[in-house]
């Protein structure tokens, strides 16, 4: 459980990913309203925040699936905010992402899902990629017998594992996890968290995760950032989360209905 503390302590100023004043709106609905965030190399940051506060949108802006309206995304010191074409491809190779919905390709068997980045993205031969995929599946605790199944034949927990394997197969530098354990039972959630911690350490990557689950936060985070109304309102080491002195963070981690955070539950 406490193994994650063995992360080699990165030099404090080695910033891998930085968001500066990131803004994104859909129509007149402002979702991100100036996000500032720094993530150190090889650290594991967990972003928490209520439903619909823009956590997924933030990740999608970071990786380049959505183009922000303002602000900057800086990866390895390079401004990647508005890259296109080949330059975007080059930066995209640094990333792996596990989607909230797993987003497995349902027309392809499990092994081709895992090997997809290797075959299509890197041009690896199919036979070799298949071996590599089976190797990666083993890392997430799946045997070679699932390799030829289709995603629809798997349970939710297995799909998340396959999604995890797909995200790490090409050994990315930065891995994004969007709610990796939502919808899983507590034991499976703990297993997935362990896998995240061990695989991220294994490939030596920087991890940015989103979750609602405080147990997961404590298992996978080195640092925690809380997003509220389109901004980061608290950011600190996971050890300080219980005495952050921030009423928003307190309300969230204790799951209280009463507090400074007002959920918009009105029906339109």
């Amino acid at each position: 459980m406490s193994e994650k503390q063995t992360h080699a302590a990165p030099p404090p100023d080695d910033i891998h990913v930085e968001l500066k004043g990131l803004r994104k709106a859909f129509g007149d609905k402002v979702v991100l309203d100036g996000i500032d965030l720094k993530v150190r190399r090889r650290s594991s940051l967990v972003v928490i925040g209520g439903s619909g506060t823009g956590k997924s949108v933030m990740l999608k802006c970071l990786i380049g699936l959505l183009e922000p309206d303002g602000g900057q995304v800086i990866i390895d010191g390079e401004d990647t905010t508005h890259l296109r074409g080949r330059a975007r491809d080059r930066v995209m190779r640094k990333f792996g992402m596990l989607f909230q919905s797993a987003a497995l390709f349902d027309s392809l068997p499990v092994w081709e899902n895992v090997a997809f980045g290797l075959i299509q993205g890197r041009g690896m031969r199919r036979r070799q990629a298949r071996e590599k995929a089976i190797e990666t599946l083993a890392k997430v605790g799946l045997g070679p017998e699932v390799a030829d199944l289709y995603p629809a034949e798997l349970s939710g927990g297995m799909q998340k594992r396959v999604g995890l394997a797909r995200a790490i197969a090409h050994q990315p530098d930065i891995i994004l996890f969007d709610e990796p354990t939502t919808g899983l039972d507590p034991i499976m959630a703990a297993i997935i968290d362990e896998l995240i911690v061990s695989t991220v350490r294994d490939v030596g990557a920087t991890a940015i995760s989103i979750t609602h689950d405080m147990a997961s936060v404590r298992r996978i985070a080195d640092e925690v950032a809380m997003i509220y109304k389109g901004r980061i309102i608290w950011h600190g080491p996971v050890s300080e989360i219980d005495h952050s002195g921030n009423p928003y963070v307190d309300q969230f981690i204790h799951g209280r209905a009463e507090g400074p955070i007002k959920m918009d539950v009105s029906q339109k």
Partner: protein, 257 residues
């Protein structure tokens, strides 16, 4: 409601849609049809579009050829021109009915299937997942479908031509009392290469339209299962209308001289 505002809204909607389609078309051509290519995907799509459409195409062409023979015979007797049945069936099938009917039948099957597949991929974030795996979705999904459409439709139309003419032949010889040898001779003598090629050119364009409309509506679908359903219907309707419109334009261009 102010009727002017209504008209304005419709016009704006139409312009926005046209803009979106133009943008999609640009990406489909400039990204989708440039290397790197995915020959495996093209092959898979050709098999899905072509092989699985064969029964529909075969039956449609056969009955159409037969009906054409009957109708032309009935019309022909009024002018003592029954002998023209064989040649008119051949011309009608190769120049017009083969490509148009095959196009419409395949539009119903294939545009819908493409829109449903890509629409589902869109709403379940599979298209985003492709991008994160360094694969351009225009190149991996749209390009192969368009290439497959442009190649497969002419192949299907060749088959439709043959089966359609055969349908006319069977009706002509079995129930209208034509001599088999004379019927075949009339078919071959009057048919020119240009009749066949013009039909195949039409077919290639229809194949492009079918794949493009399926991909466009699938790519732009929003909002879960309902959105995918809408995309599917829109793909079939727009592909069918565009096929009929393109058919008119192509006919006037191809037979201008």
């Amino acid at each position: 409601m102010n009727p002017l505002a209504q008209i304005g809204r419709v016009v704006l909607h139409l312009l926005a849609e046209t803009g979106r389609l133009a943008f999609f078309l640009k990406n489909a051509l400039l990204i989708g049809l440039t290397p790197r290519w995915y020959p495996r995907q093209i092959l898979i799509q050709m098999i899905r579009m072509g092989y699985n459409s064969l029964p529909v195409i075969g039956l449609t062409a056969f009955f159409t050829g037969g009906v054409l023979a009957l109708q032309i015979y009935i019309g022909g007797t009024r002018f003592n021109a029954e002998s023209l049945v064989a040649s008119i069936v051949a011309l009608g099938i190769t120049r017009e009915l083969g490509p148009v009917l095959a196009g419409l039948m395949v539009a119903g099957r294939v545009s819908a299937a493409i829109a449903a597949e890509l629409g589902t991929m869109r709403v379940t974030e599979q298209i985003d997942a492709l991008v994160t795996l360094s694969t351009n979705p225009y190149r991996y999904l749209v390009g192969p479908r368009i290439v497959a459409g442009v190649i497969t439709l002419p192949l299907l139309v060749i088959i439709a031509d043959i089966i359609g003419i055969m349908g006319g032949y069977i009706v002509g010889t079995r129930s209208l009392g034509f001599n088999a040898g004379a019927y075949l001779k009339n078919t071959v003598d009057f048919l020119e290469m240009q009749d066949i090629t013009s039909g195949l050119i039409k077919a290639a364009v229809f194949g492009f339209i079918i794949a493009l409309m399926g991909c466009y509506h699938g790519f732009n679908s929003r909002g879960g299962a309902q959105g995918v359903g809408r995309a599917t219907t829109n793909a079939v309707v727009s592909a069918s209308i565009l096929i009929l419109a393109a058919n008119y334009v192509l006919t006037s261009l191809l037979f201008a001289d």
